[in-house]
């Protein structure tokens, strides 16, 4: 009735974009920047990758598609696109000290519009009948998994059947967790997020740390968008298909109490919650499925409330989250 073996891999591929998004957002928030532009950045990351691979596929339409270049071009385009978004956010909030909530929401408006506009333009350019772009060869390169995966049965299906970005996402999350917790750089970053005044007095360059964390965070989040298009959606871009996953990634940050290593499993849980409505037999009652989709958000709220009730100091949001830093202000 409930097919666990087919459910888990699908939950994982649902979870990977969330994992990348939340790892990026965790880094950003640890530096004291509440970047609500993550949904927009993930859109921009996705569409930049799509634009890159679209032109590469067009230029090699007659043959000569090299899978390695096919991966490299969208990958680099995605990083550049999301880096620019991150820089824009930093320039406005760190250098110009603008309000972070407002800047983030504007960035989301812009990013989603940017994605849908260029997506729509490319669809028109490709002259296709369908309202989507299909990048099958690039997606094939992104999705190719180890050849032994098929032979290993259940084990292979559960652990080895994913494209390389999925493993990269897990590695990034673990590395981010290590850096935040165990290195001097991470200590400085956390100091900037908790109390920029103190950090500044200790000789840590607050602006540089904020820029660095937010831009790297934006690039990681952008990869989440790329993974969604190239791997999960099999290289099919259609407007607004990405949906509210960006917000779910922000929810995941809270759910994991700002720890990317917990995020690895938590993102798969969220991915599972996101699709569990397809697996639970609800008969003809379609309405209940909508209630199941509520689950990730309700769970996040419960975690948010519980952590604030228990009031353990290591589980709190960074103390200066959302506040701009100006040295001459007390």
């Amino acid at each position: 009735m409930f097919d666990v073996i087919s459910f888990i891999p699908r939950a994982v591929v649902q979870g990977i974009p969330l994992l990348l998004g939340s790892t990026g957002e965790t880094l950003t928030e640890k530096s004291g920047n509440l970047n609500l532009g993550i949904p927009g950045i993930m859109y921009v990351g996705a569409i930049s990758g799509v634009i890159g691979s679209f032109f590469y596929e067009q230029s090699t339409a007659s043959g000569g598609f090299n899978p390695f270049t096919g991966i490299l071009i969208p990958f680099v385009c995605c990083l550049i696109g999301s880096l620019l978004m991150g820089l824009l956010y930093c320039f406005l909030t760190v250098t110009l000290r603008a309000n972070q909530n407002v800047t983030g929401l504007a960035l989301t408006t812009f990013g989603v519009g940017f994605g849908n506009f260029f997506g729509g333009s490319l669809i028109k350019l490709s002259g296709s009948e369908l309202p989507s772009i299909i990048l099958s060869s690039t997606s094939y390169a992104f999705r190719s998994s180890l050849p032994v995966a098929e032979k290993l049965g259940v084990f292979g299906k559960l652990f080895l059947s994913y494209g390389f970005l999925a493993y990269l996402a897990v590695v990034i999350a673990l590395v981010a967790s290590y850096i935040l917790k165990r290195t001097r750089l991470g200590l400085h970053l956390r100091a900037v997020g908790e109390s920029p005044n103190t950090a500044d007095a200790a000789g840590i360059n607050v602006a540089r740390h904020k820029y660095m964390a937010t831009c790297i965070g934006a690039m990681i989040a952008g990869l989440g968008g790329l993974y969604y298009v190239m791997d999960y959606a099999s290289g099919v871009w259609s407007n607004n298909a990405f949906g509210d996953r960006g917000w779910l990634a922000i929810a995941l940050v809270i759910f994991t109490v700002w720890r990317p290593n917990i995020g690895v499993l938590a993102s798969f849980l969220f991915g599972g919650l996101y699709i569990v409505h397809m697996y639970i037999p609800s008969g003809m009652n379609l309405a209940v499925k909508e209630l199941y989709k509520m689950a990730p958000y309700v769970v996040t709220i419960i975690v948010l409330v519980l952590t604030s009730m228990r009031n353990k100091r290591e589980n709190q949001p960074p103390a200066s989250l959302g506040l701009p830093y100006f040295r001459e202000e007390r």
Partner: protein, 367 residues
């Protein structure tokens, strides 16, 4: 940022308060610069004369009488949600849940229209709609407020999550109440009997909304500036410790203000269902809960200036969609233009609050 000389090329200092004409001059300059950039981008994309593009933006809002009414209606609804979130913002409590609170209000109003239509007289239903939707909006804001006041739970993230809970709840009821069966949406509620529809003033469909929102706007201005409550929440926003010291009950102020915030959002939802669309969809609020944050912030949380800023955002949005249809572009082009304009205005705030001091008698200070 700058070269490591003994003294940096310039440094940033906080400005004393500028006269109002200077602040609005800077904002106007930023807006003008943003419009020029937008015009250049649009003409690059479409190959049209930028002046024609601006003419199209103008026509999108003022082209016909009908468009003018739609413009006014959209301003009124956006202003209503913006007014709702403002008291919370003055208290430095980031209520990003306007979307969910308005949806909760809309859901309550639609529930009254659907479930009570054969049981009660029309007047009583309308009365119940008003009461329940305001209560529903207040409840949706009250839950995060309670935890904020009691346990200091982060209200930005809490209200953000409540938006999606509300969206899914509405999506659930859209399937439950679907008509015709199997369509997955509700359609116009009570199209023949018009039970629960708010009365029209003359032949102007939107006039009632506009009047209600105008009254709310004035009331909010008075509440924030001339009432004890308004003063208390401003003190809580400036410094919670000071507030506690002078004997303001901070918990109560937080909960009271958020309840008010949610109640007005509920009112916005009520107007959308009862008086405008007569239907319910998960996207009925159209992201106004988020746009309202920008409207309120751009106006520096002043209800009267908010009329102007909400006009600006609605005008740009409608103009951009006009460009999109006229030059056969994707309708998302409007979002890009809105985003660019917002970036400019957000950036310009820096020059209002801070000034650059150049190293010894540098002459080209142009801010």
């Amino acid at each position: 940022m700058n070269k490591r000389t003994r003294e940096p090329l310039f440094h940033v200092v906080k400005r004393a308060a500028l006269p109002w004409y200077a602040t609005w001059g800077i904002r106007g300059g930023a807006l003008l610069a943003a419009l020029i950039v937008c015009g250049v981008i649009t003409s690059l994309v479409t190959g049209e004369n930028p002046l024609q593009v601006f003419a199209a933006i103008w026509k999108g809002s003022f082209g016909t009488v009908r468009k003018l009414w739609v413009l006014l209606q959209n301003i009124a609804m956006l202003l209503c949600v913006s007014l709702a979130v403002t008291p919370a913002f003055r208290m430095r409590c980031w209520n990003l849940g306007g979307e969910g609170q308005a949806l909760a209000g809309a859901l309550a109003a639609a529930a009254c229209m659907i479930c009570l239509r054969d049981k009660l007289p029309n007047g009583l239903i309308i009365l119940l709609m008003i009461v329940t939707s305001i209560l529903a909006g207040a409840l949706w804001a009250g839950i995060p407020a309670f935890f904020k006041a009691r346990f200091n739970t982060n209200e930005t993230l809490f209200t953000l999550m409540m938006n999606y809970v509300a969206t899914q709840l509405v999506a659930y009821y859209c399937v439950v109440w679907e008509s015709p069966k199997g369509s997955g949406n509700i359609g116009v509620i009570n199209p023949n009997t018009q039970i629960g529809w708010f009365p029209q003033i003359g032949s102007y469909k939107y006039l009632l909304n506009i009047i209600i929102v105008a009254v709310v706007c004035l009331a909010m201005y008075v509440y924030l500036n001339y009432s004890k409550h308004g003063y208390e929440l401003a003190v809580v926003g400036e410094s919670e410790r000071t507030a506690r010291y002078v004997g303001i009950k901070v918990d109560r102020v937080i909960i009271r203000t958020m309840l008010l915030s949610g109640a007005i959002c509920g009112l916005a939802g009520l107007l959308l269902v009862g008086s405008t669309h007569h239907t319910l969809t998960p996207t009925i609020v159209e992201g106004r809960g988020f746009t309202a944050v920008m409207v309120s912030w751009l106006a520096k949380f002043n209800p009267i200036w908010m009329i102007l800023t909400s006009f600006l955002l609605v005008f740009l949005g409608r103009g951009a969609s006009e460009i999109a249809t006229k030059f056969a572009l994707n309708s998302s082009f409007g979002d890009i233009l809105t985003g660019i304009i917002l970036f400019f205005i957000i950036g310009s705030e820096f020059f209002i609050n801070y000034q650059l001091k150049f190293r010894s008698k540098a002459g080209k200070e142009d801010k």
